[in-house]
Symmetry: C3
Subunit: 350 residues, 3 copies
């Protein structure tokens, strides 16, 4: 692909400053770009590199020093970088239809221009939207629905009746709609509670490799529109995750918890069951959330506390042994001063 | 399915109080049930809803106020709910035999009424019990045995010679019998120790999605009868998990550890290698068990300590900075009182 | 297989002391070995068992007391054990070629003596070395390369253009080259940054079941030669892991971090993004590394601190409530002595 700066300015929704007829065919970093490539300034501390980059053009924030370069001004150059990668560097997938070695069940409804690779198994009554791609060995159980332009990578399983939105990306090895973990104790043993609900992945969701999202016991486990989930994350039955939230790798969310919109959970963070987390909350990596969290909070630690308090605490923690020794010294001094042992038992610190 | 209350009382092993000829065809919650449905009271705090529910009948604990309803009395209404879900809401799977697109090796012994979906691969010498279901793309390596009524979901792998009991459920993406993680250090490098043992899943075990249970180095990694394991759990080589235990999602158990019966490990808890955990032990989520744990203990934290001590500790922890400041003040006051610096170096707290 | 001690001494690179014509056909532990078997002494505390073992021969460290046994002396008997397991107990896999039910794309280059099981899907332009084994339902996307003698177990996915070295072992369910987790915030929403880099697994790497290693955004996520990764580990995009390192189960490494050679990360440890960890570093299980770590360090805790400091800290932590009570007592005593309240607010500890 080769594009003129005029075309790129229109594609990006930016303002052209310079030669609109100049043509580029790649995007690259400020350091590595050469003639024929466009670059971008995302971090102001690298502004001086605009003068020295080998690129033919630069995406700058409005008012950024152009150093005489051909420029497209845009308030979000990093977003432009992503869109230029899409344009120049992501090959368009051919439409392959149902390939030999794919298994398609009865009463399947297919949109236009689907691609179904060998080894994919499409259960009875599945509905696929337009331009859906099922990579090799994807398994869709009976009654699954998949929206337009969704890509499901190799070895993914989507269990019966689950609903996958449009423009969803599911990375390899993901399990959508496995049985929730629910048992009725029966004295000695555990009796399995049938999990007859489903999972709904709303539009524009992405799910990372080998992540598991369990079906609800009775109704719906829901991942809100635009939410992005990283690898090896566990979302238990009956959870509701809001819109445009971020769950980093190895996060675990126990059953029936509810997260708001624009929530960010750091890697390996855990949320207990039946917890409510508000909008715009950030949870630090490895934290354990045991209680509800209000909108706009930042929390850390296990159990999670306000991040600011946690920072103070972990700064002091390595001094704990010294603090204890100081207290012992003070107690000895106090005893000498007052001539008595105080209120504690004498071998308190053994 | 439609059943009379008389039939349901017999099915549940409960006591009928009311019209035994009344017929219902669904189970639902106290809030949502309508005529033709049966509901249940599992939590005493909702007892008043028995008077107002739209259900045609209610499962109550013995002596529960019936408010004139048709009632089945049973000591465990929640267990009855699970059994009613099974009866009314879990569709019976048809017997499908070996479907087109399944791959079956040599010398395979099959029970009656098995269902093997497309893409499943059954290795040489595998033995399948009666009514076994292998969903699409399940892979059983050579010499695997599977007991009666076991269900293995899509994209599961069971490695060579492992033994799966009866009435076992394996959720999608699980790996049973992958090589244990064992190497002999050889100066610079690590030399792989062949893992020639197996995994045994005893009867009535359930394994959650994408969980991994490694084969033993020489003998057996064993999951005891009735134990339920959630998603993304790691059980390392040579472990023995007792009967009727619960491992919540993302738990990790290092090599050669031994858990008793009726153990519960909370989500993301970890157990070090060569540890012994007794019967009826509870380990809180995210804890790290570094030492043996006696029967009937409840432990929390990393390293894990008695839960009661941990609770006190985490209540005090956020005050640590204040405690340190108090100690500094006391030291200053003590110095003024005694006219000397005490035993610590003066810039101790820098 | 049956071998003379002379042949075994040569195979192991050890020194024969005793009857070189004696033949053995198995390896076993000191306790369990019988006639016709060879055993080994890896742990000096079991040296007395050499006298009583039923084995026909023993591998001893140089100068170990032979108690009149036939002996092979070698400085690393445990390594010899691993090699004897290989020799006697690991069945040689037959060469199977491309089996019926495997799907091979266009322009695939294959070495000699490959084995490709049913359900494996080999994308266009893939290059396979000699003696490669692809177990059932392995999926290699287009342009993947695989070195000689590499074994890929069932249900593994390797995404487009990733490069797998020689003598690599990939356990079942692994995902190599899934998209890195990168988005450009666009006000409300997140815009996916295309991940156009690859993953390189160098020679002699082993990857544990259901582990995920993401492709780089632009260039390479690299796992160094000889490194062994356990189950359910997450390695994010753009990471570089050095040579002969060990990542225990459920470790998570965030984007762009760099680990040296001979690093060991304990189970469930986490490393934040853009961190540099030196050579020969050990990180304790469940730790969280938030800052760079120098060569030869041992660190523990979240955030990770020197292991020695962490040990002292966790020994004192359960006494925190007692320390607080001592401080309160001291403050009361100080107030009595000085007749004033000190500098803190009086209800400080509420």
């Amino acid at each position: 692909v080769e594009k003129s700066l005029r075309e790129l300015a229109e594609y990006l929704g930016g303002t052209l400053i310079g030669d609109g007829d100049l043509r580029v065919s790649r995007v690259n970093s400020l350091d590595d770009a050469v003639a024929g490539e466009i670059t971008f300034l995302a971090n102001p501390k690298y502004a001086a590199k605009v003068a020295t980059t080998g690129a033919s053009a630069v995406v700058l924030p409005p008012g950024g020093a152009s150093h005489g370069r051909n420029v497209i001004e845009h308030p979000n150059p990093y977003l432009c970088f992503a869109k230029l990668l899409d344009l120049f560097h992501v090959p368009k997938q051919p439409v392959l239809g149902v390939m030999a070695g794919a298994h398609v069940g009865r009463d399947v409804v297919m949109g236009e221009e689907v691609s179904i690779y060998p080894g994919a198994v499409v259960g009875d009554g599945v509905k696929l939207g337009n331009r859906v791609t099922l990579h090799p060995n994807v398994v869709l159980y009976a009654g699954v629905t998949v929206g337009d332009d969704t890509v499901i990578h190799a070895n993914v399983t989507v269990r019966e009746r689950c609903r996958v939105g449009s423009r969803v990306i599911i990375q390899s090895g993901v399990v959508i709609g496995g049985d929730g973990f629910g048992y009725a104790p029966d004295g000695e043993k555990y009796y399995k509670i049938p999990q007859i609900g489903i999972v709904i992945l709303e539009d524009d969701v992405e799910i990372g490799a080998n992540t598991t999202i369990d079906r609800a016991a009775l109704d719906v486990t829901r991942i809100g529109k635009g939410t992005k989930i990283d690898n090896l994350v566990q979302v238990a039955h009956n959870c509701t995750i809001g819109e445009n939230s971020i769950l980093v790798a190895q996060v675990g969310i126990a059953g029936s918890s509810k997260l708001g919109n624009h929530v960010t959970l750091g890697g390996q963070a855990a949320v207990a069951g039946h917890i409510s987390i508000g909008n715009n909350v950030m949870v630090a990596g490895q934290s354990g959330v045991h209680a509800n969290v209000a909108d706009n909070s930042i929390v850390s630690g296990t159990p999670a506390i306000p991040h600011r308090d946690w920072l103070k605490m972990v700064m002091t923690l390595p001094r704990l042994t010294e603090i204890r020794r100081s207290v012992q010294t003070l107690e000895r001094q106090m005893k000498e001063l007052t001539g008595q042992a105080g209120e504690q038992e004498p071998d308190y610190f053994e």
